[in-house]
């Protein structure tokens, strides 16, 4: 496969976006719906087209998705209803959502070790 600088697609994603993560294989994008937003899901996009292939529901005000080398997908939330004090783990195969917490406050940027 050859590479160039061509933009593959440029689309608005409903309802909004935040800092996203990409699957290690490159096929999927995991896109939060914005730390100030009310949508209670993130969008999973086909990286080659921008099509939404799935929504994963957990809480609102999602931002800064992380897909570390060993997985799983980590998602934080700034929700103010108490759910923002948890860190959400999303299985990239089954999309099952689990969580750990509560933390002392809503969790901001996070990082994982392999």
């Amino acid at each position: 496969m050859s590479y160039d600088d061509a933009v593959l697609w440029n689309r608005a994603i409903d309802p909004d976006i935040d800092r996203l993560a990409i699957h290690p294989g490159g096929q999927l994008l995991y896109v939060p719906t914005w730390e100030g937003g009310s949508a209670d899901f993130i969008n999973v996009l086909d990286a080659s087209t921008g099509d939404v292939v799935r929504k994963v529901y957990f809480s609102n005000r999602s931002h800064d998705t992380l897909f570390p080398l060993s997985g799983p997908l980590f998602q934080e939330s700034k929700a103010e209803d108490g759910s923002g004090k948890y860190l959400y783990l999303i299985d990239p195969q089954s999309y099952a959502v689990s969580r750990i917490g509560p933390y002392a406050g809503f969790s901001g940027p996070l990082r994982s070790m392999a």
Binding site: P68, S70, I100, A104, G105, S107, R111
Partner: protein, 161 residues
């Protein structure tokens, strides 16, 4: 699957560490910090060898805090590294090999991104400011390795134990 995750948490001078298998969470507090509320400390990342976690402070605190993660559930503060800008930092990340730390300034700041030796913690210089940074390596004209916008652990283990 990842084993530990470090978090900045609103209202905490320090960080919290979670062991994913047990769900246990511990708090590593900064004994010395500027007065007032911290808000949400922002940049945080593991060195690729997973021996340290580097953590930005509040917008007004010109320091980065380096934690020893020899025991991930009992972090020990190793060093408080000063920023040349004399202002706070926002995001931080490392090169894939773990030789350099890149600490970006406050959001929308005119300050530079400061580069540190990740082993000695000494400042090496300044580059243009960007909090959106990722290392992409090329070999023979093709992408060969991709880093991460965040500082994430890169130690490869053959066992999950």
């Amino acid at each position: 699957m990842s084993r530990y995750v470090v978090n900045n948490v609103a209202g905490l001078w320090g960080m919290q560490v979670a062991e994913l298998k047990s769900g246990r969470i511990v708090t590593a507090s900064l004994a010395e910090h500027p007065p007032g509320e911290p808000g949400l400390l922002h940049g945080i990342g593991w060195t690729p060898d997973e021996r340290e976690v580097w953590q930005s402070s509040s917008a007004g605190d010109p320091h980065v805090y380096v934690w020893s993660m020899r025991d991930p559930m009992a972090p020990v503060l190793l060093e408080r590294v000063s920023m040349k800008s004399r202002r706070g930092a926002h995001w931080l990340t490392f090169d894939i090999e773990g030789n350099y730390a890149y600490v970006a300034p406050n959001k929308s700041s005119d300050d530079a991104t400061e580069v540190f030796d990740a082993h000695t913690h000494k400042s090496l210089g300044l580059i243009g400011s960007s909090e959106d940074m990722i290392e992409i390596d090329f070999a023979d004209g093709k992408v060969s390795r991709v880093g991460d916008q965040y500082g994430v652990g890169r130690v490869v283990r053959t066992s999950t134990n």
